[in-house]
Amino acid sequence: MTARKSERLLNLLITLLVSRTYVTKERLRTVVEAYREAGDEAFEKMFERDKEELRSLGVPIEVGFLDRAFEDEPGYRIERSAFELPDIDLTPEEAAVIGLAARVWQHAGLAAATSDALVKLKAAGVSVDRAALSVVQPQLSAEEPAFDPLWHATRTRTPVTFGYRTSSATRAATRHLQPWGVVSSRGRWYVVGHDTDRGAPRVFRLSRVQGDVLLDGPAGSFEVPAGTVLREVTRSLAPPPADRTAEVLARPGTAHGLRRHAQPATGPDPRPAGWDRLSVTYGAGDAFADEVLGYGADVVVLAPDEVRDSVLRRLREVAGAQEAAS
């Protein structure tokens, strides 16, 4: 059964591909054996289904008229240039890169899509020998349930609506979004787009999407504004570069985590009694103050004031709670 149908689909495809002109249904019925044997109604149904099945594989079937003067019966054809993968000439190293890339996705659907792409490239004559290149492979996973529907909506430019809970909100709010793209940052997925409720671009973390992502309009019903660069829109997701330096004191034998991005400080009095003096690089002041606070009484910030003040304020708040309690 499968073989008979495959045969029919392939013969239909070849007929449409080799023809220079549009092929009418009548003509198809005479050249494809299974169509010839079917009754009128059965043929119509079979042909419609076959056409859709080929299209779903990505086969571009065009509809047109044999003769512009007689627009009575449409014909079909497959334009070779739209059907075939163009030439792609890869060096062995480049082919190895493709082979490695095909193993990056840990997400079932996208892993399947990359394997399908790889099969097509092999069919185009590319020989993949991963060993030709010594590269450590990254892995991309997408465990968030909202990933699949949002990837699809991004692909088809379909507006969506979903429940979303920010960390400071008590319950999920319904949001409406024209998704421009998806971003993976530090192992987490985000969707970026035009928030139609806020009338401005917004970034949403997929793990905070609650419940189902629903389609909220027809496919292709918005355009991503020209010149949109996702990296720019999502700049806030990236940690600031660690280009600042703080001076701290740490008790010897403590603050091992901090010492991973620190160096012994130079200059006067490098070792006050009972302390190590360190130069620490950091990016965001708040995050660095958080880190310092984690070491309790084992670390003291000397500079900059911004971090020192932030640490002192919170220590006073916590210590002050004692006065209030006693």
């Binding site: 392939l10 890169v97 890339a101 092999k122 492979q137 991004t154 793209g181 993976s184 990236a238 009484a297």
Partner: protein, 323 residues
């Protein structure tokens, strides 16, 4: 996907694949297509009845059945019109291009130009199909290439069933310890990669986050047998209570509600003004002290009272350092 649709999809690649190579062994084709050799043989049988319209003599695709059945070698002729595979569709092109970008992010100066050239060629060949790739952005953590390298080494140790000596940093106790482990598997969850292993120091199964491993040395010694030891099921998340954790009650201000997302909360209650009271389990009191100092006035430790006192003591000691 129906069987026929899948088969036609495969044939549209198989016919050009064979023609590009003049002949291919059945085994090799099966490997390249990720199916069993019997499936490829079945696919080739379909071709037997396919060809140019009319299917007269000389119109049919010619599959050398003798070579196939005899030597297990595939030869196909009379199919010039199927000499190229179908174009990449948008999901194939974008999945591959995004994967290449991830590879690019993690590669060094020697490999990056090769990845760039590959990307350019692939984008050119994919045409419109590549458009979606512009809508995907991959930002790997700074330490990613080190983690990737560790993952490969540790995965190798899992396969070879070798013990590994780790230097591991434990943030809650702020210490780095050397330990020998029997690796079970390497697994990703919640955006991090972990080694699931039996730890001879803890004498128990442990998860080690790869970005906290400062060194990993694969030893010659084989792993010990551990009866009944199973890789952890991480479907429910990384944190699995052992029952020995401390039950803690915290009152969080609106600005500290994020705590409920990062720590395993047993239950929570919304408070007036946007605050939240949470009951959570914490394995190590030191972790709680760190958290409370960070939160400052935006959180209050309600239970256990003894620990609340300890947190205040630490804060007072730290304040004294500032004079």
């Amino acid at each position: 996907m129906s069987g026929a649709r899948e088969q036609v999809s495969r044939l549209l690649a198989l016919v050009p694949y064979i023609q590009a190579r003049s002949e291919v062994s059945l085994e090799q084709a099966a490997t390249d297509f990720g199916v069993r050799p019997e499936q490829i043989a079945k696919d080739l049988n379909v071709l037997w009845f396919c060809g140019l319209p009319g299917l007269g003599m000389g119109d049919l695709i010619d599959v050398d059945m003798e070579a196939l059945e005899g030597e297990g070698v595939i030869r196909v002729s009379n199919a010039d019109y199927l000499s190229r595979p179908l174009r990449l569709d948008s999901s194939e092109a974008s999945a591959l291009i995004v994967a290449l970008r991830a590879l690019r992010e993690g590669s060094d100066d020697d490999v990056r130009p090769i990845v760039d050239r590959t990307l350019r060629k692939l984008e050119a060949a994919a045409g419109d199909g590549a458009a979606l790739a512009a809508q995907v952005e991959i930002r790997l953590p700074e330490q990613q290439s080190r983690v990737d390298e560790l993952r490969e080494r540790l995965t190798g140790a899992v396969t070879a069933k070798r013990q590994v000596k780790l230097d591991y940093y434990v943030p809650t106790r702020d210490e780095s310890t050397a330990r020998v482990v029997d690796p079970l598997r390497v697994v990703s969850a919640d955006g991090n990669t972990y080694l699931d292993a039996y730890c001879h120091l803890a004498e128990d199964q442990r998860l080690f986050r790869l970005d906290r491993i400062s060194s990993a040395q694969v030893l010659d010694s084989p792993v010990d047998r551990h009866a009944g030891l199973q890789p952890r099921d991480l479907a429910a998340g990384i944190f699995q209570p052992s029952g020995e954790e401390l039950l803690v009650t915290l009152r969080l201000d609106r600005s500290a509600r994020w705590v409920a997302e990062y720590y395993p909360v047993e239950r929570s209650r919304d408070e007036r003004g946007g605050g939240l009271t949470v009951w959570l389990r914490i394995g190590d009191p030191a972790l709680l002290t760190r958290l409370m100092l960070r939160l400052g006035a935006s959180a209050e430790l309600l239970e256990p009272a003894g620990l609340a006192e300890e947190v205040r003591t630490v804060a007072r000691q730290a304040l004294r350092n500032y004079g």
